[in-house]
């Protein structure tokens, strides 16, 4: 089972520079724990006691997971998860 997880520049120190890593799990929560096993410390940058960290956005197949169940969002083989820092909206 493989789920592609795209990692922003600022977190690539945890992945040895890799832009994208693979993981598995039934939910986003399980996926992050799975990644953490190979990329120690990564989960803590994404998740705190309250759930997803405030300035971290996670998209499952381009949809913000906060509207899909957050950490409980189901994930499947072939899904793409994109992690991005929250930034001010472009050209306003």
């Amino acid at each position: 089972m493989a789920i592609e997880v795209r990692i922003p520049t600022v977190l690539r120190t945890y992945t040895g520079g890799a832009k994208s890593v693979e993981g598995s799990g039934g939910t986003l929560d399980e996926l992050f724990s799975d990644l953490d096993a190979r990329h120690g410390g990564l989960r803590e940058r994404l998740v705190d006691n309250a759930g997803l960290r405030r300035f971290v956005n996670v998209y499952l197949n381009d949809e913000d997971v906060r509207f899909l169940g957050g950490l409980g969002a189901p994930v499947r083989d072939g899904d793409t998860v994109t992690v991005l820092p929250a930034v001010a909206g472009g050209a306003r």
Partner: protein, 314 residues
């Protein structure tokens, strides 16, 4: 239509159907053309409201200086309002925004302070906040947190949409300051609870997300997640493809954020259940004029995508 002056003509923008892009008579897409505003963008609404509120609160006197982190439309709108009301305007914007924006700002008499490209608008906001702290007589309206921004949409955009499309099922707009979605979205959900309010968020190149630390991110103070029912991330290639599709299929020459919005709108149209009606309103924030120099409308899509890499394209 006749108005006493330019600012009186603000809002009341047309809602046009998209018969060729709509999947069928039961699932219809509609475009609200916000380029039909005094300076050509949706930002005329929040700019006017924020200035009017500041005047009412006694914060602005003739000759006052307004400061704002803005890489384009808000600055242009504020420049127009400032010019007509007798204020000075300083815009802080990232250095990698399109040439037309700067030219238009300067033509209206605004001054520009450039912030570094890396870090995008986050950096512009930081620089502006710092400048505001060091120049206490300057007024920073701060579009990312000013309730006047959302109020303009709560009192304008939202009611106009519902009046024109009482059967509305979905509202899709770009997510930036979040003002449009917060204001119009809140209004729509209050008056038609079943409506879906969907954000279309541009996804930029890596440079724009370059931060020292992921805890240094930024969420606009206006943002209230509970007003949205969904949020999509849209890449530059998809936004470009849809912007061209809007032009080629429906004849609408829109800015690139509208490509994001259309991409999300088409995804919603596809998800619409068989046998159920959907009326999906798309917010067209501006026309394509300011983006021509980005190369978005000419050459192959691949060439256009390459040119947008690293730019704040929406």
């Amino acid at each position: 239509m006749r108005y006493d002056s330019l600012l009186d003509s603000l809002g009341g923008t047309p809602l046009v159907g998209l018969p060729r892009l709509s999947p069928g008579p039961d699932v219809r897409l509609w475009a609200k053309l916000e380029d039909r505003n005094p300076t050509g963008s949706v930002k005329d609404r929040p700019a006017f409201y924020m200035v009017a509120a500041a005047e009412k609160a006694g914060l602005l006197a003739p000759g006052a200086t307004i400061l704002e982190p803005t890489s384009g439309n808000t600055g242009i709108s504020l420049a127009m309002v400032a010019k007509l009301r007798g204020y000075r305007l300083i815009c802080v914007m990232p250095e990698n925004t399109s040439a037309e924006r700067r030219q238009l700002l300067e033509a209206y008499g605004a001054s520009i302070i450039s912030s570094p490209a890396a870090g995008g608008s986050n950096e512009a906001v930081r620089v502006a906040k710092d400048l505001a702290a060091r120049n206490p007589d300057w007024v920073m309206l701060y579009q990312y947190g000013n309730e006047g921004n959302a109020l303009a949409h709560y009192e304008g955009t939202g009611p106009e949409l519902l009046a024109d499309l009482p059967e509305i099922t979905h509202f899709v707009a770009g997510l930036g300051t979040t003002g449009t979605l917060m204001g119009a979205g809140r209004y729509l959900r209050e008056h038609r609870p079943q409506v879906q309010v969907i954000a279309a968020e541009p996804r930029y190149g890596e440079l724009v997300y370059g931060l020292r630390n992921i805890d240094e991110g930024f969420v606009p103070e206006l943002y209230d997640e509970s007003v949205l029912t969904g949020r999509f991330s849209v890449s530059a290639p998809d936004a470009l493809r849809r912007t061209r599709q809007l032009l080629e299929t429906e004849g609408i020459f829109a800015g690139i954020s509208s490509g994001c919005v259309l991409h999300a709108g088409l995804a919603l149209a596809e998800k619409a259940q068989a046998g159920q009606r959907a009326d999906i309103a798309l917010l067209i924030a501006d026309a394509g004029w300011k983006y021509l120099s980005t190369g978005a409308y000419g050459g192959t899509l691949e060439e256009a995508q390459a040119r947008l890499e690293g730019q704040l394209w929406a």
